[in-house]
Each structure stands twice: as structure tokens, then as C-alpha cells.
């Protein structure tokens, strides 16, 4: 496993040398600051709206960064043929998958820290009663959710031929689960067979990203999540990461490279 660390470093270097993150960060900051400077209808709770908007932008940006970064890793290695000198060294295909995942996940984590610091600063400017522990908890959950997403996208990148199709499918699945995930079982109950079984299968097989979305709790200053459910959510994410990475390795190890 000598190659995991160096491979991860290359992924992180790629992220900070590309313009994607900077563009998304500047846009998020700009929109949030502009909205923060306004006072709609003289409402007293304007800080909550600013928080909501800023967190929504952070979530959208993080999805774009995670999927964009993970979807191009393996196809780019094959297209530019750098996979050959890499595998000609004492590096296994499992190392490549593990290295790419670690790099993408750490890079997403770094981006999230920057985004959440921006969120904290903007929120603190409008309402002094800010709970930094709650923000840290939201960040960790968000980061683990991105871990699942990165692993799923890496699996997609060895299954689908084009990075664009993989990116689009992952984005649709993620947005679908975030918006509808918690209602799928109720939808299934209303359907007849075989639709019911299919929707139930989707409900039980796909990762429930929405469990990690605690934006409302941050916006409405709800109490901290208890340690038990919090750790359970992290374990849930860990299991999905392991399953997706195992799947990616099983497909990648049998794939012809030329």
C-alpha cells in the first residue's frame, strides 16, 4: 500500500491547481455576502435565511466538487495513459482505487473546512449566538456523506465509459436521494407490483444521503445530535464506502487497460 499516500497527494494537488473550487467558493461567498447585506421585509430572522442560502450553496458546491473530482480520476489516468507507468511500478489496482478515494475524500474535506469557515464567519456577523460545535458536527456528517458519494462515483467511473455520463448519473441519483430518499418507502406503499418491489429495492439499496443533511438543525439552532446516532451515521457511511470501493476494485481488476 506504498502508493496510496502519494496518489492521494496528487489528487489534492490537482484540486487546488484547478479553478473549479475557487470559482464555486467565490460564487458561494459572493451570493451569501450579497444576500447578507440585504434586509427583506424588515424581518427579525434574516440571519436564518442567510444561513439557509449559504448552506444550500455549500451543499451544491460540495456535490459538484466531489462528483467532478471523483468521476474524472480513473478515466483521465487511462486517457492520458499514466495508468501504465503507474501499474508498471509495485502498485496494485487496489492501491489505485484506495489512493484515488483517499485523495478525493481528503480534498473534499479541505474544501468543506474552507466553506464552513466562511459559513461560520457570515453567520457570526449576523447572529452572535453561533454554536461552533453544531457546525463541526454538520461538517463531519457532510464529509462522510461525500465519502459515500466519492466511492459511488469511483465505482461508476469503472462501469460507465464516459466521465460525463457517470457524473450525470451520480448527480441525478444523489439529488434524487437527497430530495426523495426519505419518502421512497411511502411512495412504494402506494404502488402495485412490480413497481412496489423496485422502489423498495431502491429505498433499501441506495445510500440515504439525506440522513447526513442536518442543515435545518444548524439553521434553527437545534440541540446537538447525541453521540450514539451520530456515530451510527458514520458507521453507515463507512459500510457504504467499503461496499462501493470493493465493487470498484472487483470491476477494475478485471478490466483491460488498452
Amino acid at each position: 500500500m506504498n502508493a496510496v499516500g502519494p496518489l492521494a497527494c496528487v489528487v489534492i494537488k490537482e484540486l487546488y491547481r484547478r479553478k473549479d473550487f475557487y470559482v464555486l467558493f467565490v460564487l458561494t461567498a459572493l451570493i451569501s455576502v450579497l444576500m447578507g447585506g440585504m434586509n427583506f421585509f424588515n424581518t427579525q430572522n434574516i440571519a436564518r435565511y442567510i444561513k439557509e442560502i449559504c448552506l444550500a450553496l455549500i451543499w451544491i458546491s460540495s456535490l459538484v466538487i466531489a462528483i467532478g473530482t471523483a468521476a474524472r480520476q480513473l478515466p483521465a489516468e487511462r486517457e492520458s495513459r499514466t495508468i501504465f507507468p503507474l501499474l508498471a511500478k509495485p502498485v496494485t489496482r487496489a492501491d489505485v482505487i484506495a489512493g484515488k478515494f483517499t485523495g478525493c475524500w481528503l480534498a473534499c474535506g479541505l474544501c468543506l473546512v474552507v466553506f464552513y469557515v466562511l459559513f461560520g464567519v457570515l453567520s457570526a456577523a449576523r447572529s452572535p449566538e453561533l454554536n461552533w460545535l453544531q457546525i463541526a458536527q454538520a461538517l463531519v456528517l457532510h464529509w462522510f456523506m461525500l465519502g459515500m458519494l466519492v466511492a459511488m462515483t469511483l465505482l461508476g467511473s469503472v462501469v460507465f465509459a464516459a466521465p460525463s455520463s457517470n457524473g450525470t448519473i451520480c448527480l441525478i441519483v444523489t439529488a434524487g436521494m437527497l430530495l426523495l430518499g426519505r419518502h421512497l418507502n411511502k411512495v412504494a406503499l402506494q404502488l402495485t407490483e412490480p413497481g412496489q418491489s423496485i422502489v423498495y429495492a431502491v429505498y433499501f439499496v441506495l445510500p440515504h444521503f439525506e440522513l447526513f443533511d442536518v442543515r435545518d438543525m444548524v439553521v434553527h439552532s437545534a440541540p446537538l445530535i447525541a453521540a450514539g446516532p451520530f456515530l451510527l451515521a458514520l458507521v453507515y457511511a463507512g459500510v457504504y464506502v467499503a461496499v462501493f470501493l470493493l465493487g470498484a476494485w472487483l470491476v477494475f481488476r478485471r478490466q483491460m487497460l488498452n
Binding site: 496528487v10 495513459r81 507507468p85 501499474l87 508498471a88 511500478k89 509495485p90 502498485v91 488498452n258
Partner: protein, 250 residues
Amino acid sequence: MEPLVKIESLIVEYRSKERGQPVKRAVDGLSLDVQAGEVFGFLGPNGAGKTSTMNVLLGFVNATAGNAFLFGVNVREPIARQRIGYLPELTYYYKFLTAEELLRFYGKIFRIPRAEADRRIDAVLKLVELEPSRHRLIKTYSKGMQQRVGLAQALINNPDLLILDEPTSGLDPIGRMKVREIIQRLKNEGKTVFFSSHELGEVETVCDRVAILNQGKLQVAGRVSDLIAQHQMNLEQLFLKIIGYQPATN
């Protein structure tokens, strides 16, 4: 003495993804040895099985039958690749890295200590004449410079065996000359070089021994001087004769 590269009755077959298509045999019962310290030219027309053979040696493809060994270790073991350097044909290295960063990355894979890595990076960049451009991003490099940075990465672990897949492909005459000079220097340092090429003049100049493949089968192998003397023709004429090329008559 044990050969550095040993190939025994190697067969490589590719199955087509389309149903009903026959299995394609890319390499058909190839056996050859490469001894330590020699420059070995691996020749053949396109589709002869050269790259397939190299892919087996490098562990990219599993042999359908037969065996291949590097330093006496079966190529299926990743450790067999600890002492080799490989330059693939036409590779576009990570364009967001500089040459120095790229070499440091590959050095870390081999767990080369920092001080030793610094020393080797200096040495290989000097050898491939990329020292003045070491801090420039690779995306700003010309094709020739990219090929030389590829050679540098192949040398970062100070390998005993170099496997080069058409190292001068796509280069201008000056680029070719520079790569040829580097191979010559490596030969003088006692390195073993196993390379495929379509440049027969270049092969004649730098190789000790050659093997010519056609349609997956080994047609001839031996010392370049012996083959030329035996067949009373230069390497290019011999190559064309072996692959059955008939010049068009007007």
C-alpha cells in the same frame, strides 16, 4: 547467469466483446531471454505482438498460457516490478505537476528517502536535459520534453532493467537523437534495456541483440552483427524479408 527477462512459450489471446467473433491470438508460443547488461531490440510490424508481450511482462495482461519472469520472479507478483523502469508509448503525464513533483511522486511510490530522492531527481533530470525546466508545469512541455520526462520517471528508482515501448515514437530527429543518446549512456552504465521500435537504423546502432516478431510468432533472434553477416543484408532488408513484404512493381 540467470536472465533478467525470461519468457517461456508465452501465449496471449484476446476475446472479442462481440459474440461470435473468434479469439485473437496476439502472441503465439514466444520464448526468449534477455541477459543482464544488454540492449535488446524487440521488433515487428504493427500488431505483431510486441506490446502484448510487454503488457504481460508489466503485469497489465495475464498470459493465456506460458510464463514470464523478471529477475526470476513471476510477473504476476507486483514485487517483480520493483527493479524495473517502464516508458510507455505516447503518455501525457499529469499536466498540473512540474517535472520535479512528478518524479517525487514516483519516488514516494518506491519509498525512496527524501535525501536520496533529491539526489536521484537531480541526476535523472540532468541525464534527460530537463534541469532548466524542472519547476515548469508539464502542460507547457513539448512532445520531446514529455517523452524525456517519461524517461526520467522510468529511471527514478535506478532500475536494473528498462522496458521502453517505442521510445522515439512521434519525436522529431533531434528528439530521437537525444533519446538514443540516453539509451546509449544507460547501456554504458551497464543497465539492461528491452525496447520495441520501428526505427531500424536506431535499433542497429544501439542494440546488442534483436528479436523479430510477426503475427505473434518469433521469426528470428540473435546478435545484430551475426544476423547481418548471416543474411548478407542490413537489418531493414532482413526485417522486410522476414515479414514477407513485397515491394510494389511499376
